[in-house]
Symmetry: C2
Subunit: 206 residues, 2 copies
């Protein structure tokens, strides 16, 4: 995938909780050459999580120092915890022509979409993944948690607020089976590699 | 393919003479639901050509009357002959959710790209198909004709002038084998059906 004619793709996938965005990104990287970008966070590691696989777990001081040093592509705070994507996860790979996939919330996705860096803009695309129906969304949110009704209602309201932002994304995937979603996601990546705006020239005509 | 949520795609393929654009469009329609849009022309029918398959062969008076009546999506003159795409070939199909594929020269493609009609804009995408190298382009142009050297040079110059316009197209396909080209073209069509800008809403959330 190393090519001076195409940078790698920087593909952001967003979707409400339970949409399967992380699974989709990781599945698309499996057995291929694309890289799944691991976010950094200051939240505590949970049982079963692995540093460097699930997140880069950083101390608050380390995170803020890296923000100060301009090491983040995007970063944001959610409920007092910091989350962000380190440039080192992304930029060297794009420059080598490698694709980088990541799941981000709508806030992070908007920051990357507005990024001024030319290499990021040329590489960028984004996909919104959404459960096929409102009933399915409800079922997935309920399936993950055993919450009080008012907590469930709050969770659903938050998900619907995120879903309302699908038109900001270049692609919208109403999810189907995991295999169908992966097929369609791969078609998007294959097509995006052929976009003229990413092409730096016609090598055979130089 | 009938869907009120997505209009059909209107996919224009351009490329120099010998690029295989007609073959690619027709192959993508075979056995599927997409429609290959047949152009209208005032040029004389050639041996082996079939009216309605290769072109809609019209008299000059008929063609110009239809231009006057606003029946063309695009039309242009090349060496005194008129060529154009009848709206009736395209618009009713898009409205039903059917994909329409057509090959056009760079002039026709530019006219469709600038088309003001909202249904056309929402359905539109375009692909430039180009032989992989300059040597291959030369070979294909020579293979088709047994012309004098100066005619060949003129043909090559015209092809290079067309090829210089690849950045106007959303996608650029450097052609490979016929099968690989068709695969990549199908990925483009599959991806384009998922573009948010074509989507009129989220049906499961209405």
């Amino acid at each position: 995938m190393i090519s001076p004619i195409h940078p790698g793709l920087l593909c952001i996938v967003s979707g409400p909780s339970g949409s399967g965005k992380t699974t989709l990104c990781r599945a698309a990287c499996e057995g291929g050459t694309a890289h799944y970008s691991v976010s950094a966070t200051t939240r505590a590691m949970r049982p079963g999580e692995v540093d460097g696989r699930d997140y880069h777990f950083l101390s608050e001081a380390d995170f803020l120092g890296r923000v100060e040093a301009g090491e983040f592509l995007e970063h944001a705070s959610v409920f007092g915890r910091h989350y962000g994507t380190l440039k080192s996860e992304v930029l060297p790979r794009l420059a080598r022509g490698q694709d980088v996939l990541m799941d981000l919330d709508v806030q992070g996705a908007a920051l990357v979409r507005q990024h001024a860096d030319e290499a990021v803009r040329r590489a960028h695309l984004d996909v919104f993944l959404v459960p096929p129906t409102l009933d399915e969304l409800r079922a997935r949110l309920a399936g993950r948690h055993t919450d009080a009704p008012e907590t469930q209602a709050r969770r659903l309201a938050a998900a619907l607020e995120e879903i309302a932002r699908w038109p900001e994304y270049e692609y919208t995937l109403l999810s189907d089976t995991r295999e169908a979603d992966l097929d369609r996601f791969r078609s998007i990546l294959a097509a995006e590699r052929l976009r003229s705006r990413r092409r730096l020239g016609l090598p055979g005509y130089a």
